[in-house]
């Protein structure tokens, strides 16, 4: 450890936010707008194909799950996966490109914008991108007639929160990454198993009991528990618990991401 004077801010200081984060969000939005056409098309085509293929294909073999047609079960669960994936991708690959490859963060830091602002902007932007994806999927769900409940619009803020959660968790891994390869582990060892444990494609009651206990504290499971009823037009039975789980992951993840990113830049 060096003398305390070398510490720009303590790595563990609470997040310091200023309005300077906003131009960084706008920068990312501007880049996205340039590619918006293909991006929106992909956002709509991908769920459309998946829902039609699996929902109707596999669904015709399965019949009902939890008292609903399989396609409803699948669509209302996989939208939460899409939020998680979109935010994770942005917080890992895209943010890493800007941070370590293009040196965009370095050039922003030469302007009067602090690292805390940049990390917050990246987190917020990844969540916004997740919302874009989810909005497109809701359109598909509506058009296919899987749900026509006006209440599904209430799923959007929850999906935004899920975006914040998964963006924050992604930024933790971004902060310690030495290259893109590292992110493969995160997807293979964390995200993919989580999707199978969160009752997206099948109910977790099929699982051994101990796995069900684990699943109950996963952020994706919490998101699915909130989003599924809302998309299908009913209120979640016990909303507080999953909401607190999502929020706790978001808060802890964001703080940890910030501490690790400060260490990466100033350590």
């Amino acid at each position: 450890m060096t003398a305390p004077v070398s510490m720009l801010v303590s790595f563990y200081a609470t997040p310091r936010l200023t309005p300077s984060f906003w131009p960084v969000v706008m920068r990312n939005l501007l880049v996205w707008k340039k590619l918006a056409g293909p991006s929106v098309l992909g956002n709509i085509a991908e769920p459309l194909i998946t829902l039609v293929a699996f929902g109707y294909g596999v669904g015709s073999l399965i019949g009902q799950i939890d008292g609903m047609p399989y396609i409803q079960y699948l669509a209302s669960g996989s939208i939460a996966v899409s939020a998680a994936l979109a935010a994770t991708f942005e917080a890992l690959y895209s943010a890493y490109s800007r941070m370590a490859v293009q040196k965009t963060w370095d050039s922003i830091l030469n302007a009067p914008v602090a690292l805390d602002d940049i990390v917050f902007a990246e987190m917020l932007w990844a969540a916004i991108k997740a919302l874009f994806s989810c909005a497109a999927i809701l359109v598909v769900i509506f058009l296919l007639g899987i749900s026509r409940a006006p209440m599904m619009l209430l799923a959007l803020p929850v999906l935004g929160l899920a975006g914040v959660t998964f963006a924050s968790l992604g930024l933790v891994f971004n902060a310690v990454a030495k290259g893109y390869d590292f992110f493969t582990y995160y997807f293979t060892l964390v995200i993919t198993p989580m999707t199978f444990l969160s009752g997206v494609y099948f109910p977790i009651t099929q699982m051994p009991h101990w796995l069900q206990v684990v699943a109950e504290v996963l952020p994706l499971k919490a998101a699915v528990d909130l989003v599924r009823p809302l998309v299908l037009g009913t209120w979640p039975v016990d909303p507080l618990r999953p909401f607190l789980i999502l929020t706790a992951y978001a808060a802890c993840g964001y703080y940890l991401a910030l501490v690790l990113t400060r260490r990466r830049f100033f350590g």
Binding site: V5, P23, V24, M26, L30, K103, L109, A111, P112, V113
Partner: protein, 306 residues
């Protein structure tokens, strides 16, 4: 009494056990160009990073525009423009967008940015490239766009870290012309460079840095006069080594680097007369320059990290 725009007092910065900047003090006044020269690893870039609050000092004080760094560096950065050693232009944006987006980071009003963008494109000689992305630009164009970007906030102090490294002579001369233009406008510049002709041409004052320590400071001419003989005769060719031994008494100092023998002296005539009949050598007589000074002060050996 004018206050300096940037004041560094007794700055020390360590990475682990190695001291990268060692008790460095310097000041830059308004409108002045201060050059920091030194071999690779001398601590030039680290000094700049400390001044920008990107890494904390282990000891010492820094003030930019009277504001303490790093405590109030964000306020100070509103009046500073930075060109880093490696281009960090936004590859997704064209030239005009690069300037606009960067202006937004300073919180500048849109109208101010829009008014400045065409002027900066013109300054960077990139009017015809406004819609081109950095990937389509030459090295010189990218550097000029980086310089233009650093001017978006109309800074009073420019910090330029090796702004012409890697450029061809034409691009370098164009860059020098632009920097001179900025000095005429009254902007202050802190410049690090490896090019002694660049330092001699642009800088009012120079600091020579080696192993993180300031080993000399002064005007380019003053430094040469203080540390060097007036003239240099470079001798090369197959008989150079023998000539070096034979005429050692005719010079104040003789140095050998590879195949070339350098005679440092104040009166070159006796040596030139002696060499005139020696057909085994070729030679060049020239005034002593900053490169001679640099090599005298920092040595001829290649640095480990060079």
């Amino acid at each position: 009494m004018l206050a300096p725009l940037l004041r560094i007092a007794h700055l020390t910065k360590k990475f682990g056990n190695s001291t990268v900047v060692d008790d460095l003090s310097l000041e830059i006044m308004a409108g002045e160009c201060l050059g920091v020269i030194g071999p690779n690893g001398a601590g030039k870039t680290t000094t700049i990073r400390v001044c920008l609050g990107l890494t904390g000092p282990d000891a010492g004080e820094i003030e930019a525009f009277g504001l303490p760094v790093p405590a109030q560096v964000r306020e100070a950065k509103k009046r500073i423009g930075v060109v880093t050693q490696f281009d960090s232009l936004d590859p997704d944006f064209n030239c005009a967008e690069n300037l606009r987006v960067y202006g937004a980071y300073f919180g500048l009003p849109r109208a101010t940015i829009e008014a400045r963008v065409p002027k900066l494109l013109e300054f960077a000689a990139l009017q015809s490239k406004a819609g081109a992305k950095p990937g389509e630009l030459s090295g010189g164009m990218k550097r000029r766009l980086s310089l233009g970007r650093a001017l978006i906030n109309d800074p009073d102090l420019l910090i330029l870290d090796e702004p012409t490294t890697g450029l061809d002579p034409q691009a370098r001369h164009l860059m020098w012309e632009r920097l001179q233009n900025l000095l005429h406008q009254g902007k202050a510049i802190l410049l690090t460079t490896h090019f002694m002709d660049e330092a001699e041409r642009l800088c009012d004052r120079l600091i020579v840095l080696d192993h993180g320590r300031k080993i000399a400071e002064g005007t380019p001419r003053g430094l040469i006069a203080a540390h060097l003989e007036t003239d240099v005769v470079e001798v090369y060719g197959e008989g150079a080594a023998a000539a070096g031994r034979a005429h050692v008494a005719l010079a104040e100092r003789v140095e050998t680097s590879g195949e070339t023998v350098f005679f440092y002296l104040r009166n070159a005539k006796p040596l030139l007369d002696a060499l005139a009949d020696d057909h085994s050598v070729r030679y060049l007589h020239r005034p002593a320059n900053l490169e001679d000074l640099f090599l005298k002060l920092t040595g001829r050996q290649i640095r480990d990290d060079a």
